[in-house]
């Protein structure tokens, strides 16, 4: 596990999101879908982000400023320095014959790096508005649908090997249609390396740590607290941060505060 202080070398608005580019130092980019813990200046806990871009000598992270932590990171200036730990967790399995990237909102975050590694496969991306959909420009070969059309509506009949990242509701819907889809899940986490047991998700009735077993898991794993196996009182109050704005009728408007905005997915 490597942790270094990295310097911000660029920030760029992408629709409502901010692409924060850091000089890589000795950190490795890892595999697409793996994540890094980024120091959120002034906040007690770091925030998890999957790697968005891995251009030479850099690590790029797509940030949606929703709460205090994500806002602090999105507000970084060129020259600022933050602690970064990673890469962490398990990324996407790249041994796929017919990859299709399916994403929603900020869930587009890991796709530029993933697309590069897979040779620019087709992508199907859902966004709430055209402004949000500007992020699709980061992903080659992308088809975009806008609210109220769902990515599951636009899915081809034989979607092939689906690699997905997005809001929990979208991932749950995808898992029903494509049971073996690879899904980049998310959960509030304090540490990112298995220490805190905060990021558990329900897998077959057992709580497993998403930071170690995921964040990319196969379809059929119920990562959502609203999943069928262990319904959780109070979990539908927006405490879980969606990986992005759902193109689905938003079950809950995202509630922005603190660690709940952290998104492994992006």
């Amino acid at each position: 596990m490597r942790r270094e202080r990295l310097r911000v070398v660029g920030t760029q608005a992408v629709g409502p999101y901010t692409l924060v580019r850091l000089r890589r130092g000795r950190l490795q980019p890892g595999a697409p879908g793996q994540f890094f813990m980024l120091e959120a200046p002034g906040r007690p806990l770091p925030r998890p982000f999957s790697l968005c871009t891995a251009s030479a000598g850099e690590l790029g992270f797509l940030v949606e400023p929703l709460g205090k932590g994500t806002t602090a990171i999105a507000s970084l200036d060129v020259g600022d320095v933050i602690h970064v730990t990673g890469p962490l967790g398990r990324g996407f399995d790249l041994d796929v014959a017919r990859p299709l990237l399916v994403g929603g909102g900020i869930g587009v975050a890991p796709f530029p790096f993933l697309s590069e590694r897979l040779g620019a496969p087709p992508a199907l991306l859902g966004f709430r508005t055209a402004f949000h959909a500007e992020a699709a420009g980061l992903v080659p070969n992308a088809t975009v649908v806008l609210d109220p059309v769902l990515v599951t509506d636009a899915l081809p009949p034989d979607p092939g090997d689906v690699l997905a990242c997005g809001p929990e509701a979208m991932l749950d819907a995808l898992a029903r249609v494509v049971p073996d889809a690879q899904l980049a899940r998310e959960a509030p986490m304090a540490c990112g390396y298995g220490a805190c047991y905060g990021c558990v998700v329900d897998r077959d009735g057992r709580y497993v740590r998403l930071c170690l077993e995921g964040p990319v898991v196969r379809g059929g794993t119920h990562g959502s607290p609203t999943g069928p196996l262990l319904p959780v009182a109070g979990a539908a109050d927006g405490s879980w941060a969606p990986a992005g704005q759902s193109p689905a009728p938003p079950a809950k408007e995202h509630v922005s505060d603190d660690a709940s905005n952290s998104t492994v997915a992006g």
Partner: protein, 295 residues
């Protein structure tokens, strides 16, 4: 190392991050209970101002699976292993302590008498310690809650019951509300509050207890720098544990150890342990240092 640096129980999985565990002077396990536990439902973590809340709820494999599968692997780390045990009755504490008594890999047992996220045992802390004491000859550290008006009285009671040392402090209950919905952000509403805000509370508890009893104290609560560690030593701790700071900085143990040495040296202490109890009013050492003008 004169002032050992440990992790706070539940703040490190040595098997998931062995290099972090090896950077400690002793590794303290997550609390082990007699039976396996899935723990509390998510959401389990919420950041708060000046710290964080957790509601994990003692997720773990149970004492038998722990002893059979995890303990041997922990023994390969090459650092002393302290096992934190917990439960819901004196019988639970006795059972776990007895099971560990014959395990040579266990350097000490920490009794989690104060988990803020599960139901409490009906017995008093002293009764739980007494039950464990009767079941093992291992060194027993009693981990106390800071949420008691007279923590020194609690310390005397558990030491009288057979505790060989104290771990001070556990988290304190806190609540965080969603700013929009005003509903609790944790699934179980209330969780254990840790981090920066706990530090003065931990200092007060260590200060009170180190004055009240003559056993070693592991100080913990909001330690993220060497100066924080030195303050706990000055209040009476003989070892220091890192908790929440490990979440944001897995490399904290080596850094804190180095800073601790430098902070002690800057104040004229050859060894950080020489600063032990220096803050305690009327102690012989503090008077001596004060008269030397080096404090």
């Amino acid at each position: 190392m004169s002032v050992p640096i440990l992790n706070a129980s539940g703040c490190l999985d040595a098997l998931a991050a062995p290099e972090v565990a090896r950077s400690l002077d002793a590794f303290v396990t997550k609390t082990i209970t007699p039976e396996p536990r899935e723990g509390n439902p998510p959401v389990r973590i919420a950041e708060a101002e000046h710290g964080m809340l957790n509601s994990i709820g003692l997720q773990g494999p149970g004492i038998e699976a722990f002893a059979a599968t995890q303990l041997p692997r922990l023994g390969e780390l090459g650092v002393p292993v302290w096992v934190s045990v917990g439960g819901f009755s004196a019988e639970d504490f006795a059972l776990c302590s007895e099971r560990l008594d014959a395990e040579p890999l266990v350097a000490a047992i920490e009794l989690n008498l104060s988990c803020p996220n599960v139901d409490e045992a009906p017995e008093t802390a002293a009764e739980l310690v007494a039950a464990a004491r009767a079941a093992t000859k291992k060194p027993l550290y009693a981990k106390l809650s800071p949420a008691q008006w007279d923590v020194a009285a609690g310390a005397r009671a558990v030491v009288d019951a057979g505790a060989d040392g104290l771990s001070l402090v556990n988290t304190i209950r806190g609540l965080a509300l969603d700013p929009v919905t005003l509903r609790p952000r944790l699934a179980r509403a209330v969780g254990g509050y840790s981090g920066d805000a706990l530090r003065p509370i931990a200092l007060a508890c260590v200060y009170a207890c180190a004055n009240a009893v003559d056993v070693p104290v592991v100080g913990m609560g909001g330690v993220s720098t060497g100066l924080h560690a030195l303050e706990l030593v000055a209040a009476g701790a003989s070892a220091v544990a890192l908790g929440t700071s490990l979440f944001s900085d897995p490399l904290a143990p080596a850094r804190v150890r180095e800073e601790l040495g430098a902070e002690a040296a800057a104040r004229g202490f050859e060894d950080p342990a020489d600063a032990r109890s220096i803050s305690v009013v009327n102690s012989e050492k503090s008077l001596q240092i004060a008269s030397n003008g080096t404090a």
